[in-house]
């Protein structure tokens, strides 16, 4: 926790210094969101049958996606960790009296939260000023908002745990940019980042509900726009917690194994 706070502050200050970068980031994400909205608007306009979510709900999900992109994208590259793994600088880290899994976890979490905190407000403020149906609005009720915050936080914990698995896999592949790409893309598809899960075919939805990916983005955002009932949301929170524990245990065990292997091979 302490190392998280220190790392968070460091990142946050660094982020502030690059004002052009921050501004550019906000601008880029705003345009991306807008572009997806334009595409979906065209689809909605060419069909008169009602869809599982309304266009305005979808718009709000898109804005949330852009505002919290740093929190939810599966692959957020940390070159330092990658170098430690692939170039063998890891030995230095192993000498320090810290638990490596927890340290990297804190580091990745700090990176995502600081970066998201710098960006989400401007995006949400600007988009709430847009005319209907492109505007960002408040959730239907206060309880939804609370549930949204809880599920978003738990969702980030899942995302980081998942991305830890990608890093650990690099102990074996040693460069693995290719496999990371594949894993990242499939994960993001299953999280509903390419097209929203409500718009997917029913058979695919059933598979997706069994996997952890949708609990990172689809769940919190749909709670926010009111497309998931409160009861369902509370059950989902329990599922999120279970996933966090499972992913933590898998990551921890796998990392220990990978490090042991590393020690045996002498780096």
């Amino acid at each position: 926790m302490r190392s998280y706070l220190v790392l968070f502050q460091m990142r946050f200050i660094r982020g502030l210094q690059y004002r052009t970068a921050a501004l550019a980031g906000v601008l880029t994400q705003f345009f991306w969101g807008f572009m997806y909205i334009l595409i979906f608007e065209a689809f909605y306009a060419s069909s008169s049958t009602p869809q599982p979510i309304t266009f305005h709900q979808l718009v709000n999900m898109m804005w949330l996606q852009q505002a919290f992109l740093a929190l939810i994208m599966l692959w957020f590259r940390d070159s330092e960790i990658i170098n430690q793994i692939t170039k063998g600088d890891i030995a230095v880290e192993l000498l320090r009296p810290i638990k490596l899994y927890e340290f990297w976890y804190a580091r990745l979490l700090a990176q995502r939260t600081s970066s998201a905190l710098l960006r989400f407000l401007p995006i949400l403020i600007v988009t709430s000023l847009l005319p209907y149906p492109y505007n960002f609005v408040l959730p239907p009720d206060a309880f939804s908002f609370i549930l949204f915050i809880i599920t978003l936080v738990l969702g980030v914990l899942i995302v980081v745990a998942l991305s830890m698995l990608i890093y650990i896999s690099m102990f074996y592949t040693l460069s693995g940019t290719g496999s990371i790409l594949i894993f990242g893309v499939i994960g993001e598809f299953l999280a509903g980042l390419i097209i929203p899960i409500p718009l997917m075919p029913e058979a695919l939805k059933r598979i997706i509900y069994f996997l952890p990916f949708r609990y990172t983005t689809d769940l919190p955002f749909r709670i926010y726009v009111g497309s998931i009932t409160h009861n369902e949301a509370i059950i989902s929170i329990l599922i999120q917690i279970v996933w966090i524990i499972i992913l933590y245990i898998i990551g921890k065990l796998w990392m220990n194994k990978a490090l042991k292997r590393l020690v045996i091979q002498g780096g």
Binding site: I13, L16, R19
Partner: protein, 322 residues
């Protein structure tokens, strides 16, 4: 051959501060300071000279090199190098110069050196017979034979630097700019590089301008020093002139048998029956000094040493408060 006249160049640099509040302030407003990198710089260099361009970090060395190699336009001043104004006739002009940046490679990292040379032949449009002749000559003088078929990333730093030198000379440049050519090299490689610079300077009359922090480079290669500090040329002269001006201080080591009375002049070091101190032959002549010392001790042996060039440069920097 190289005429540089009144070159001035200023840069704008953004200020940056620490802390959250300062960082927030920085978001709103950004302050700039103006830095004068070059201030009325002038010099002439004749064909076949080897000039050492020295000065502490940030003095304006690389800015000068950038200007005279055509990749930076100065605010003011004129420059005529082999008939060209470098920044105006850049593409034509750079055909006649070679540039080696000591810390950066100009070779392609993953392919054998010879492939890089082939590509350079195409880039510089070197006629095949010229290329063949130069390649042969360079292979011989730089001992590249075994290196040419090795990928660059597998070369040691010294081997790589030899290949870099070769690459910079394939197109028969009239002028060679060397930016810290011996940085990071071991003693043997340094020597090889220096020997090579001397050879091509003598045999091909290539004019060489080199920046360096290694004073052995200066001592062994250079016949002229240009010292730059804070953007201004502070000194321009032959090595001997510099030595004469700043080298009048010498160290004297005296071995003695008996001591008559306690020393009351500054001594740098006493070691058994040896004492070491600084003398300045401009202020006192040698016999005078010896006379004086013999009042204190019975002299057995005298050893006088010139200040090493490195110390002279340190004194130079001190003198100009760099």
């Amino acid at each position: 051959m190289i005429q540089v006249e009144g070159i001035t160049k200023t840069f704008q640099v953004a200020k940056r501060n620490k802390g959250v509040i300062e960082a927030l302030k920085h978001l709103v407003r950004r302050e700039y300071t103006i830095v004068k990198a070059l201030d009325n710089v002038s010099f002439n260099i004749k064909q076949g000279e080897i000039v050492g361009y020295i000065g502490p970090n940030g003095a304006g060395k690389s800015t000068t090199i950038k200007v005279i190699s055509g990749i930076l336009v100065p605010d003011n001043g004129t420059c005529n190098i082999i008939g060209y104004t470098p920044w105006k006739d850049r593409k034509e002009y750079v055909k006649h110069i070679g540039v080696v940046f000591g810390q950066r490679t100009q070779l392609w990292w993953d392919v054998p050196v010879i492939d890089s040379y082939q590509l350079l032949k195409d880039i510089y449009k070197i006629p095949t017979n010229v290329y063949q002749n130069n390649l042969e000559l360079l292979t011989e003088t730089l001992e590249l034979k075994e290196l040419l078929n090795t990928p660059v990333r597998q070369l040691s730093l010294g081997q790589r630097m030899r290949c870099e030198m070769g690459a910079a000379l394939l197109h028969d440049p009239k002028i060679l700019f060397l930016d810290e050519p011996t940085i990071g090299l071991d003693a043997v490689s340094k020597k090889a590089v220096r020997n090579f610079i001397k050879t091509i300077n003598q045999e091909k009359q290539v004019t060489v301008i080199l920046t360096t922090h290694d004073m052995r480079d200066i001592e062994e290669l250079v016949n002229r020093i240009i010292l730059i500090g804070k953007g201004k040329i502070l000194l321009d002269g032959t090595l001997d002139e510099v030595k004469l001006k700043f080298g009048s201080e010498k160290t004297m080591v005296i071995t003695y048998s008996t001591q008559f009375k306690p020393f009351d002049f500054p001594i740098e070091n006493i070691n058994g029956n040896q004492l070491r101190f600084m003398i300045n032959t401009n202020k006192q002549s040698l016999p005078q000094i010896i006379d004086k010392v013999s009042e204190y001790v019975q002299i057995e042996d005298i050893d006088i040493n010139h200040l090493p060039i490195e110390d002279i440069i340190v004194k130079l920097y001190k003198e100009y408060q760099l």
